[in-house]
């Protein structure tokens, strides 16, 4: 009986692997038929297009491979910023829904319902258009900290700020300077980056708020009352009694939301933020290697997702160990 079950399982696995291999062969053969040599060799070819917003140097003479790295770094950058911001905003909006101040609680509920229920793509577009519509032209840029503070400018070209660079072996602070058209030097947060990060934050925080609300509500009212009776004030009750318990049940759904956030950052392409998908899109067009480009996207996102899941899982496990309970 046991043996038969094992044999059947092995057969299923073998059959699936064979099918996958067969499909891969077919795809490769079809691609050859279309005059495209399958494989990842094209990554070493010259890309021939520029990318506006990069964390490392890139120009048209660099390879497709480097373009992918640029895209990946951009994806990670926007996702990291949005993760931190959405955790903060989500916690505020989630606890806010339960606040005793009725107006504030209502406002938080309204925020959650408004942003949770509209497709992210539309939110990204709307945020971006409002942003670039309202900001001043580079020549009329707002000097954020006034004339005496650090040299930070806000305009349609983004937030330009001083940034340390290596120059002749010494680290100096390079300040943004207004040229003929826009700022150069220093570092720039482009409106595209800001819009994508903001929209991702607003959207994900609405979901995180629901997770927080649910978890906090699941901590029984009696515990809260007991803590208050012991003389803890509201903030202390929240900090020492409610949050530690809520965190335990919160982390797995929170991890899900962070995974969604990372994947949703692929919508950045709509407003011209050069993330991984945007670079892959352009490369696919230029080189015709559609299947390979999609494979790269999938593998990279899979890796990012597994990494996030592992980090969140580790945190959860540590929390459980420290609190000595089970979820």
């Amino acid at each position: 009986m046991k043996l038969r079950a094992y044999a059947l399982q092995a057969l299923i696995v073998v059959a699936i692997l064979l099918t996958l291999y067969g499909l891969a062969t077919v795809v490769a053969a079809r691609m050859r038929g279309l005059g495209v040599e399958p494989g990842f060799g094209f990554l070493g070819q010259r890309a021939g297009f520029d990318i506006g917003d990069t964390l490392i140097d890139f120009d048209a003479a660099d390879t497709y491979g480097r373009a992918f790295v640029v895209g990946l770094l951009n994806t990670v950058a926007v996702a990291l910023v949005a993760i931190v911001a959405s955790l903060l905003l989500g916690a505020v909006a989630g606890l806010g829904q339960l606040a005793r101040n009725r107006l504030f609680a209502r406002l938080c509920v309204a925020y959650v319902e408004l942003f949770r229920n509209v497709p992210l793509l539309l939110q990204v577009l709307i945020v971006y258009v409002l942003l670039i519509g309202r900001l001043p032209l580079p020549h009329e840029a707002w000097h954020v900290f006034g004339d005496w503070g650090p040299d930070v400018w806000l305009s349609k070209s983004g937030l330009s700020l001083p940034w340390p660079v290596w120059s002749n072996g010494a680290l100096i602070l390079e300040r943004p300077v207004l040229g003929t058209f826009t700022f150069s030097g220093g570092a720039t947060l482009t409106p595209e980056f800001i819009a994508v990060a903001a929209a991702l934050t607003l959207f994900t925080a609405a979901y995180i708020a629901e997770v927080v609300r649910g978890s906090v509500q699941s901590v029984s009212q009696r515990q809260r009352e007991a803590a208050l009776a012991l003389g803890l004030d509201e903030a202390q009750t929240l900090r020492f009694v409610v949050v530690p318990q809520a965190l335990r049940s919160m982390i797995p759904p929170l991890a899900n939301q962070l995974l969604n956030l990372i994947k949703n950052s692929s919508l950045a392409v709509a407003v011209g933020y050069p993330d991984l998908v945007a670079v892959a899109d352009t490369t696919l067009n230029q080189s015709g290697h559609a299947v390979e480009c999609i494979a790269i996207i999938m593998v990279v996102y899979l890796f990012l997702s597994l990494l996030t899941a592992a980090i969140m899982g580790g945190w959860h496990a540590r929390l459980l160990r420290r609190q000595g309970g089970s979820a």
Binding site: T19, G22, V26, A29, R30, R32, G33, L34, G35, V36, G48, F49, D50, I51, G52, D53, D59, A60, A61, L125, Y128, V129, I132, G133, L137, K156, S157, G179, T180, F181, T182, S184, P191, E192, V269, A270, V271, G272, P274, A278, D281, T282, L284, N285, Q286, G288, A290
Partner: protein, 336 residues
């Protein structure tokens, strides 16, 4: 089941055993035509969902030639990423979607261009207040680009050749890129000059505040594309294009085509309209195919005027797209 399926594919490597496209069209009773998802003047859905534009009219002409009815077309709106795959996989019979004719596409990807129907060139649109008169003055500027075409590559090459640097902003979405340019996010917008002209005239609200710079940084001959490996179908598409030009040259229009067929004694006109020598047979078509084409969509000049000419929303001059006698390059070999 799976084995049969695998065998079917393996025995059919690539395009070697592709059937005859014309037969497939006749059997289907419809021409499968790949168009854009919305490029004004070339292929776009109007408020009632009907397709209009030059590329659309060309497919209607093909349907009139092959199926004797310009309305027997199945439109497939394709994004620029999808367009070649759709043609390669046989989903469409012809790609009529302002696609630039380049060596790499014509030779390397199992495709072949049947000719060009419109010649364009990449240019720049700038805000007048910037005072920029030439693209070479745009050093250091932020340039908006819509991706999915040869546009971003041309831009990078132009910058390199002119020893200037741009900050390129690549958008996938036309609506987003237009918003970005008109709100002043970037100092210039680069695209095919025909698109720029129509964007300046219509989207800006104030055409006088915007300028199309004189430089054309690329050659963009746009034309219909078919699959490689079916010479007969290739010939039909190519000569339908030539027939439209020839008709303009001979002064045959949608309005006078019936009258000319009845009483013209010019042998070239007679031949074209199916009352003289048979020019359909070599293509596997009947004698009157050109007559039907002109009756359905008019000659090349009429198609141009209707969709992109000075009276249309695009307001483009004929320019290089005129017949050779008017200083253009739209030349048709003799139809005989």
């Amino acid at each position: 089941m799976k084995i049969i399926f695998l065998l079917a594919v393996l025995l059919c490597p690539g395009l070697a055993c592709a059937g005859k496209t014309s037969d497939a069209i006749l059997e289907r009773g419809q021409l499968a035509c790949g168009v854009s998802t919305g490029v004004a003047g070339f292929s776009a859905a109007d408020s009632k969902g009907e397709w209009r534009g030059m590329d659309v009219d060309f497919c209607r002409a093909l349907a009139a030639a092959v199926l004797k009815d310009p309305n027997k077309v199945r439109w497939s709106p394709l994004t620029s990423q999808q367009r070649f795959t759709a043609l390669q996989s046989g989903e469409i019979d012809v790609l009529s979607r302002n696609t630039t004719w380049t060596l790499g596409r014509d030779a390397g990807q199992g495709l072949v261009y049947a000719g060009y129907i419109f010649i364009d060139g990449q240019g720049f649109l700038v805000h007048k207040r910037s005072g920029v008169m030439s693209a070479k003055q745009l050093d250091g500027a932020e340039i908006c680009v819509q991706t999915g075409t040869t546009t971003e590559k041309n831009l990078a090459e132009f910058a390199r050749a002119s020893r200037i640097r741009f900050k390129t902003l690549m958008f996938e979405n036309l609506r987003a890129v237009l918003k970005a340019f008109f709100s002043g996010r970037c100092q210039a917008f680069t695209a095919d000059a025909s698109a720029l002209a129509s964007i300046r005239a219509n989207d800006s609200g104030k055409p006088e505040d915007y300028v199309v710079l004189p430089e054309r940084i690329s050659k963009e001959p746009l034309g219909p594309v078919v699959r490689r490996g079916d010479e007969d179908w290739f010939a039909v598409v190519r000569w339908t294009l030539f027939a439209l030009l020839e008709a303009e040259e001979r002064g045959i229009t949608q309005a006078n085509v019936d009258a000319l067929r009845a009483r013209s004694d010019d042998p070239a006109v007679q031949r074209l309209l199916g009352v003289g020598e048979d020019v359909g047979k070599p293509l596997g078509l009947d004698r009157e195919w050109v007559y039907r084409v002109i009756k359905a969509v008019g000659n090349y000049g009429e198609i141009f005027e209707r969709n992109v000419g000075p009276a249309s929303l695009l307001q483009l001059p004929r320019g290089i797209n005129a017949l050779p006698r008017d200083g253009g390059v739209m030349y048709a070999p003799p139809l005989r």
